[in-house]
């Protein structure tokens, strides 16, 4: 078979390009769901852990207990491979579920949450302590100062790292293929199984991931420049 025939088989025959496109759709959907879960979990975890660390005087017992649980969560998630987590979720915890894509998205979200938590916590800690002191000295309470002063500054600081996490997440969605999630790589595998040709399906998929990542890198750059408005001299 000639190269052009192989490409025809991998991409055009039987409207196979539609399968890739559907895969892209699922990949984006899983990324968005996982990202939303990850950011919510990560932000909540980071805020609680920061509040715990910033306490003065005697420590609040409930906050301390929650902090220990959150620390265990972060340690376990960051300390075990994503692939293993996916298999445990799909074959043990949600063994009876057939919605592999959703289980995959949930797992990715929980996984991402642990990393986002550490990114956001780092961002919150990096804001100069004088900012909190200034807010509190004006009679604003802890939560108001966090909301108007600390968090907006932290967001700007964590955006590059968060963008990086987002890109990692986008590519990690390919892992859910192995628990039966029908995303981009899954489409390629299906075609490979029918044509016995690996090169073009894999190259096409790689190219599609690359294009997606480049688009999002560009969008993130634009967003960051907009946020940097207040630094302009």
């Amino acid at each position: 078979m000639s190269v052009s025939e192989k490409f025809y088989q991998a991409f055009l025959y039987n409207d196979r390009w539609l399968q890739y496109l559907r895969g892209v759709g699922t990949t984006l959907l899983v990324t968005v769901i996982a990202l939303a879960i990850g950011i919510v979990i990560g932000t909540v975890v980071a805020l609680i852990r920061t509040a715990h660390d910033q306490q003065k005087g005697q420590r609040h017992p409930l906050l301390s207990a929650v902090n220990v649980i959150l620390q265990i969560y972060v340690t376990v998630i960051r300390g075990t491979p994503m692939m293993v987590q996916l298999l445990i979720m799909a074959m043990v915890i949600f063994a009876s579920s057939r919605n592999f894509t959703l289980v995959g998205a949930l797992t990715l979200g929980i996984n991402s949450g642990a990393y986002v938590a550490e990114i956001v916590r780092g961002g919150l800690m990096a804001v100069d302590s004088g900012q909190m002191e200034a807010g509190r000295s004006l009679g604003l309470n802890y939560i108001t100062t966090m909301r108007f002063v600390i968090i907006p500054q932290a967001i700007k600081a964590v955006l590059p790292a968060l963008g990086n996490e987002f890109i990692i997440l986008l590519k990690d969605t390919s892992l859910i293929t192995f628990i039966g999630g029908k995303e981009l790589l899954y489409a390629a595998q299906g075609i490979m199984n029918r044509t016995y040709e690996a090169m073009f399906p894999l190259l096409i998929v790689a190219g599609m991931y690359l294009i997606l990542v480049m688009i999002f890198t560009w969008l993130l750059g634009k967003f960051e420049r907009k946020l940097r408005q207040s630094d302009r001299r």
């Binding site: 004088g130 900012q131 009679g139 108007f148 500054q153 207040s230 630094d231």
Partner: protein
């Protein structure tokens, strides 16, 4: 107005403040001087619980300051920092109006008007809608003072307000502080500006080894220091 009784502050096993007693009356302008590390900044920060005191009591208008009502206390005690601590993510206007609006003292409209009045006073009205990054150090510190004033505080606390400024900008900040003192604002100022202490303060306090070693009107303080450590200190800085 402020009564401090036996205030102690310990960091690990280092006793920074070892029993400070002080009464601040309405209209007082008190300058606190002393060698670095003597605890003068720590004392100021303890007044509004930015540092948790280890012992002793602080009263504001007869009311014991505790952690429970600390936000209300802080709203009445303005604080000006060495490094200004303006909020870089907000315009000058928002910096000034945030606290009065969030504490529901004023509507946004009232706070805006107040901010403009205060900025007009210090000649920086045209900076209302710029971000702090575009201001000089002296401008930042004067706006930080104005931000504290917008809360209409009973007393202003200054923690080395000119120490982080370029020399040519010290004057404009001291001038504003002097104007406020003349208008009867109660002020407690930790400073190395001996000229300001001599000219503007009605009491000068020397803290050393965690206690008040001298508390005199400026004429007496600078002309006839009684404490040996103060004599040494003044001979070095004057």
């Amino acid at each position: 107005m402020i009564d401090v009784k036996g205030l102690k502050k310990q960091f690990d096993d280092h006793m920074v403040l070892d029993g400070i007693d002080l009464s601040v009356e309405k209209g007082d302008v008190i300058c606190i001087v002393g060698p670095s590390g003597c605890g003068k900044s720590t004392f100021l920060r303890c007044l509004t619980h930015l540092e948790e005191p280890t012992g002793g009591e602080i009263y504001l208008d007869g009311e014991l300051i505790t952690d429970r009502q600390i936000d209300d206390i802080r709203a009445r005690m303005g604080m000006v920092f060495q490094h200004f601590n303006l909020f870089p993510n907000m315009t000058v206007r928002k910096n000034i109006t945030l606290a009065p609006v969030q504490r529901k003292m004023m509507t946004q409209k009232e706070a805006d008007a107040e901010a403009e009045r205060l900025l007009e006073r210090i000649g920086l009205l045209e900076k209302a809608d710029v971000y702090p990054a575009m201001l000089s150090g002296g401008q930042k510190q004067r706006i930080a003072i104005v931000r504290a004033l917008a809360m209409k505080p009973d007393v202003l606390l200054f923690d080395e307000p000119t120490s982080a400024l370029d020399p040519e900008m010290v004057g404009e900040v001291l001038q504003l502080m002097q104007d406020l003192a003349r208008e009867g604002m109660t002020m407690v100022v930790v400073t190395h500006e001996m000229g300001f202490a001599r000219e503007v303060a009605n009491r000068v306090i020397f803290i050393d080894e965690g206690i008040i070693k001298e508390d005199e009107p400026p004429e007496e303080f600078f002309a006839h220091p009684k404490n040996q450590r103060l004599q040494d200190f003044l001979s070095k800085v004057l």
